[in-house]
Every structure is written in C-alpha cells, then in structure tokens.
C-alpha cells in the first residue's frame, strides 16, 4: 500500500496519489466541458485526501491554471474563445473581485460573514438553476408552438433572450466580437464582468460558475463561446491566484503536477465533448451541476445547525459532490466517445466512397 502514497514536500502530509489523478481527470472533464475552474469540487476533494485547507485551496488554484490553459488551447482551435471579449472582461472581473473581497473584510468586522456568504451563495445558485431551466422550458415552448403553427423549427432557436434587450443600449464605444458574433456597447461586458467578479470576490470562488451563464444570458454569447471565453478568464485568474497563494507558501506543486496529469486528459475529453453535444445539452447538464452544488451547501449548513448529525451531513455533502463529479464525468466521457466514434466512422465511409 505504501506505493500508493506520496509524501508532499511542502505540506508534509502523505497523500494517496491515485486519488489526485482521479480528482484531476474528473474536474478536468467538467471544467473543460462547462468552462469553469471547479474549486467547489476540488477543494473538498483535496481536503478529504488529507490536505490542510489552506494548502487545498492553493494547490487547487495552481492545477486549475494549468488545466484551464490546456482547455483554452483546445477551445481556441474550435473557435470557441473570444480573446477580445476575454481581455475586456478581465478588467471588470479584477476590479469587481477586489471590491468584493474588501466587502468581505468589512462584513467580517460586523460578524457572521460565513453565514451570510453561504445564504448569498445559495440564493445565487438557485437563481442560476432557475434561469437555466426557465430558458430550456421557453425554448421547448417556442419549438412546440412552431410545430403547431406548421412552421419549420429553427435549429438555432433560444429561450431566454435578455441579451437582445441589453444590446439595444448603444453607449459608445460599440464593439464587434467576432467569435461571439455580438455587436454591443463595450460597457455591457465590462459591467457584467464587474458584477460577476464582485460576487465571486464576496463568495471567495473563481467565478466560472457565475460568469458562464452571465456570458450566455446577459452578454449573448453562444454556449460554446461562453465556455471557451470563460476558461480563458479562469486561466488568467488562476495564474494570478497561483502567484499570490504560492507567495504565501500555500501551494503544493507536486500535488498540482500529479493532478495536472489527470486533468490534462480530462480537459481534452471535456473540451472535445462540447463538439458533439449541442449548446442546450451543455446548459441542462450545467443546471444539474448547479443544483447538486446547492444541495451540498444546504447539507453543510444543516451540519452546522444540527451538530448532533454534523458528521453525517458533512460526509453526505462530500459524497454528493464527489458522486456528482463522477456521474457528470462519466456521462460527458461516454458522449464524447460516442461522438468521436461517429465522426471517425463517417470519415472512413467518405474515404471508402471516394475510393
């Protein structure tokens, strides 16, 4: 059994390294597919594997930067990354994040910050889940109405279209984002990124979970471009986070590297899977992941409220998160495999026809 454990040089703890690889693969798949860092999945996972919390956060951010770079490269080749939009949003995200973080310091002085942050997180996740499923329901209704009226169902139809209203605000400078196929005021992505960054700063998360749906519903990006552009942002913020956490001495590079081995494979699978799954498929899976995340937070809140069952509820929250990561990863992997098989078979058929 000793072979399966590696002594971490900085944290000084023995870690089950296959666990790190499995975690890396799972979160790589999910991150590449949904366009987020996935700190809400990795940090508890690393903690279970034996990392002290501070090292768990630093190590997670370090591996996230590398993993997002791999996913961004792949999404970039598909034309899913709007770099111009990403750079414009970066400014708003950083300023918003810093203000959010300062607000948390201020709230800490008042007290009970943890409780309020968890409530805010829960409200936000509920809103995101509602937004996603309301969007899906509206799209289905539109499609049904089109069929009933004897019209052809538009393959590119969407449900919620708030971005169309927001695009009518013509405050200069107006910018054209080529990959996202959007023409809007530059202030729209700046404002949206400021808000999402501010929320991420208050909640102490990377922000992919909020930014991805915001890019779709407020900025108007197609789902694939929202995923790719968000990953580009996660990559930059991940590098910044790595620098600050490592400077504070809270990063275990050996663990991050082991995780990166798994995440490199996972990120490829997750990113390539977006090629075979339609935008609304990604949105529905994302909505389910958000619901799972919300339930785990409720369980953690209950664990604090009912100390007698604290251990059980805390454990359930962790099992739920790990189960969610595993189930989603397997689903995405199976869909990617099926899509790749179809593509290769089609190519072979084309070659044999030409021959």
């Amino acid at each position: 059994m000793e072979f399966f454990y590696v002594l971490m040089p900085i944290a000084g703890v023995k870690i089950f390294w296959p666990g790190l690889i499995i975690l890396g693969i799972g979160v790589g798949i999910i991150g590449g597919f949904f366009g987020m860092g996935g700190a809400w999945m990795v940090t508890p996972g690393l903690n279970i594997l034996g990392f002290p919390m501070a090292f768990a956060i630093g190590t997670d951010i370090a591996h996230m930067a590398g993993k997002s770079l791999i996913s961004t490269m792949r999404h970039g080749k598909f034309g899913n990354v709007d770099y111009k939009l990403g750079f414009i949003m970066l400014g708003g995200t950083i300023v918003g994040f810093e203000i959010g973080a300062q607000m948390v310091m201020w709230l800490e002085r008042i007290g009970q910050v943890d409780k309020y942050v968890r409530y805010l997180y829960l409200v936000l996740l509920t809103l995101i889940a509602w937004m996603v499923f309301a969007d899906v329901a509206k799209k289905k209704r539109k499609d049904r109405e089109a069929v009933a009226a004897g019209k052809v169902v538009d393959k590119l139809s969407t449900g919620i279209e708030w971005h169309k209203t927001l695009h009518k605000i013509k405050i200069p400078p107006m910018v054209h984002f080529k990959e996202a196929q959007i023409y809007c005021s530059a202030w729209l992505p700046i404002f949206v990124s400021f808000l999402t960054g501010w929320m991420a700063g208050i909640l102490g998360i990377g922000g992919g979970l909020i930014r991805m749906p915001a890019l779709i519903y407020f900025v108007g990006c197609p789902t694939h471009v929202a995923v790719g552009t968000d990953l580009f942002e996660v990559m930059i913020s991940g590098l910044y986070g790595t620098a600050t956490y490592t400077y504070k001495g809270r990063t275990e590079l050996v663990a991050a590297m082991i995780m990166l081995c798994g995440a490199a494979v996972g990120a490829q699978v997750g990113t390539v899977a977006t090629k075979y799954i339609k935008g609304y498929g990604i949105r529905i899976a994302f909505g389910l992941a958000v619901i799972g995340c919300a339930i785990s937070i409720i369980l953690k809140m209950l664990a604090k409220a009912i100390p007698a069952y604290g251990g059980l509820l805390d454990g359930s929250a962790t099992v739920l998160i790990l189960g969610l990561v595993s189930a989603m990863s397997i689903y995405i992997f199976v869909r990617m495999l099926a899509g790749a098989k179809r593509e290769i078979a089609a190519k072979k058929a084309q070659v044999s026809m030409a021959g």
Binding site: P9, A65, A243, Y247, L253, G315, V319, L322, A340, I344
Partner: protein, 98 residues
Amino acid sequence: MRRLWAKIIGLTTMANLLLIGIASAAGPAAAPLVIVADTRNFTGWEAWWTNLYNESHILFALLTIVIIPVVGLMFGLIADVVMNWIGLDLKHRELAEH
C-alpha cells in the same frame, strides 16, 4: 444499455465511498499548517525544492508560476498530436445556437 448504466452508477457510488476510506488510511488529515517545510526526509530535487521554499517564497512562487503554464502547454501540445493521430477534426464545430 440500462444494465450498463446501472453497473456504472453502482461502481461509481462504491468507488466514491471506498476512495474516502482508502484516503483516510494514510492517517488523519494534518490540521496544523506547515510554515517551514521539513527537509530531513528528502534528497535530490525534493530536498532542493523544500529548501527553496524555506529560503525564498518569492523564488518559489516565480518558479511555480513558470512551471504550471509550461507543463500545461506541453500537455496541450502532446494532446494535439494524439488527437490528430486518432483522426478527430479539431478545427471545426457546428454553432448549435445563438
């Protein structure tokens, strides 16, 4: 197909439960944070790495933020070669909606 999914879900649940058990076998999670890395257990590059951590957090941080993207880039390039070899088209995708 349904049986296959049932098996996959069953195995995943079991793996999740077992993983926690196996990971816990390493001993309890270390609660106190290590501010100074213990270099006595290491030789070679590990000893050098832990010494670097103890001597200069700036150098340690600089090296980390260089290593992470370089390794990421390397993995990305290797994956490119593998994907091309498999025969997947990595330059086109259908725009599914707007």
